[in-house]
Assembly symmetry: C2
Homo-oligomer: 334 residues x 2
């Protein structure tokens, strides 16, 4: 896991260098007119899809849906997906229900695009176009470099489909920000020390960073066997906050932008309730720093790396092996 | 909460008696051709939307999306929602971000439908048509009768938009099944005894029952201040299962149908891992029974009532007041 995390700046730089090629693939595959986009994924890939959902809705203005695979694999729904771009995301390209769901959506009229780390996989064959991440084999069970590459791929897809809230120069700076996080592991170690007695925790963010909260929570669950759940700060206020009792550990992720006030207000409220929030942010008062100057809409890629680092540091503090969590395998059959 | 739970059979019967009227409203509002449906909700209403998503995708064959309100309230995305039916769900009809999001989607071309317990509320005024649940004022903070009424409303909307996997006779039997659950509180009390030492738990289901798992988890969080999270059984296998350690309490919800095998297999696997799953199901071997003979696609309405009962029993076992959880208010401003 550590080695694969360390590869991320170089792997992301290579993928970003292929942005023109990726954009051409997307433009060739996308239906015209584009009526909507359906995203098909599970696990970490699904968190990349949650990030992609925000970017693609902003770029296209169209309704973006996250597919419910069981409708297609268990319930045999006959759909009409004419005019839809169906994007399936799977690092192995072999998760059976993702392959089946992509096939069904394409049979129903969607144009299929695959984001995968294996350009010869079943999902690549089922799609009309492929974004091959080419980040090299991933051997640790917790996905790291494939996830950040999927996030970058969504940024590239958004550039191909419309206006993006970041520039190409800013996208090209992402590997440097990731490197800054990797070069500065101390904040993650300090966070791990603060969390080492936690039996459960939550991770909150809002808007573009929501997917990063979900992914950080999953990494902690996978590597530390601790129940960690990701919430939107808005959803948390609609009931779940009742479970955030005294000394409850919380990780909040924020970056300057339209969603920041809401997350910072929540952190202040959680402190008043006696909870123990740790803030991941570029802000001065952050407990766990992020690089300065990132647009909020690209910050999730960098925040995910900080989350990986916190999860791994916490696993090591708990004397667990983050590479091979008990009871997990690299390709999940559902 | 107890009184409002007890009203459910009668209130649902009244709403079901208005099915023709509801169908007429939906048919008047829905765009033709219908290109898709967008659902706008938070909290318990969002869990009704998750159930609605399965029913509406089966009825229409179209991509159904759950809106990300922040895109419209914080990021000012300019959308093109021509041909979309936008359904906003809010018991009070006054949650500001839900009202704003519905307005924005309608400005972008969607036709708006509101599901609310206040037919004069802002959300009702922002919509072209209203399904007024008319279940009477709900005073307990944890929503109960408004949630099951929202689920029934989605069943009615699905009937208006296409084929449903249940008959009208079966829908009319729902209040009777709900009454059977309410008349038999003993299984919920036994579950509460088994869960009384839990500091966290998860609730799993799959497919149509997934929304019931999310809602049961929320009811437990709200009334018991215990971190309880809902998962699809497929999502749980994609990583989170690593957090399900020895003696971990799990509630699994199942009913005979295409998703049952997957959930029952998961329960067996959780037992092998030493976890403590409690099965809510009509099966003989269930720990917490459900009525026999329900179609899987209507079982969520009845399962939600069982979940309310478990949450309330657990709150009482913990000597908490389920009607007024600490730090929650009836209308949440986000």
């Amino acid at each position: 896991m550590s080695g694969e995390m360390a590869e991320q700046p170089e792997r992301l730089r290579d993928l970003i260098a292929r942005t023109d090629e990726v954009e051409a693939t997307v433009q060739r595959v996308a239906p015209r007119p584009l009526l909507g986009v359906s995203l098909v994924a599970r696990g970490s890939s699904d968190h990349a899809a949650v990030y992609g959902r925000y970017l693609l809705e902003q770029a296209t203005g169209k309704a973006i849906s996250l597919a419910a695979p069981s409708l297609h694999t268990l319930y045999g729904v006959r759909g009409d997906y004419e005019g839809q771009l169906a994007i399936a995301i799977s690092q192995s390209g072999r998760t059976p229900e993702i392959v089946t769901t992509l096939r069904r959506l394409c049979e129903a009229g969607a144009r299929g695009l695959a984001i995968t780390n294996d350009g010869t996989s079943e999902i690549a064959q089922a799609a009309r176009g492929v974004i091959d991440l080419e980040v090299g084999e991933e051997r640790a069970v917790p996905a790291t470099k494939t996830v950040t590459a999927q996030l970058v791929a969504f940024a590239q897809i958004a550039m191909a489909l419309g206006d993006t809230p970041f520039s190409r120069d800013e996208l090209e700076a992402v590997p440097m920000w990731v490197q800054q996080v990797l070069d500065d592991p101390q904040p993650a170690r300090a966070a791990a020390e603060a969390l080492v007695d936690a039996s459960h925790l939550i991770v909150v963010a809002r808007g573009f960073l929501y997917g990063a909260a979900l992914e950080t929570a999953l990494k902690i669950k996978e590597t530390c066997s601790i129940l960690a759940d990701g919430y939107s700060s808005a959803d948390l206020r609609h009931g779940p906050i009742a479970a955030v009792t005294r000394d409850f550990p919380v990780i909040a992720i924020s970056a300057p932008g339209p969603a920041a006030d809401d997350v910072l207000d929540l952190v202040a409220e959680l402190r008043r309730r006696g909870a123990r929030p740790l803030l991941i942010s570029p802000d001065e008062e952050a407990d766990i720093s992020l690089p300065q100057g990132m647009p909020e809409t690209l910050a999730p890629i960098v925040a995910v790396v900080r989350g990986q680092q916190v999860a791994r540091a916490l696993a090591l503090a708990l004397e667990l092996d983050p590479d091979s969590p008990p009871g997990l395998s690299k390709v999940t059959v559902t």
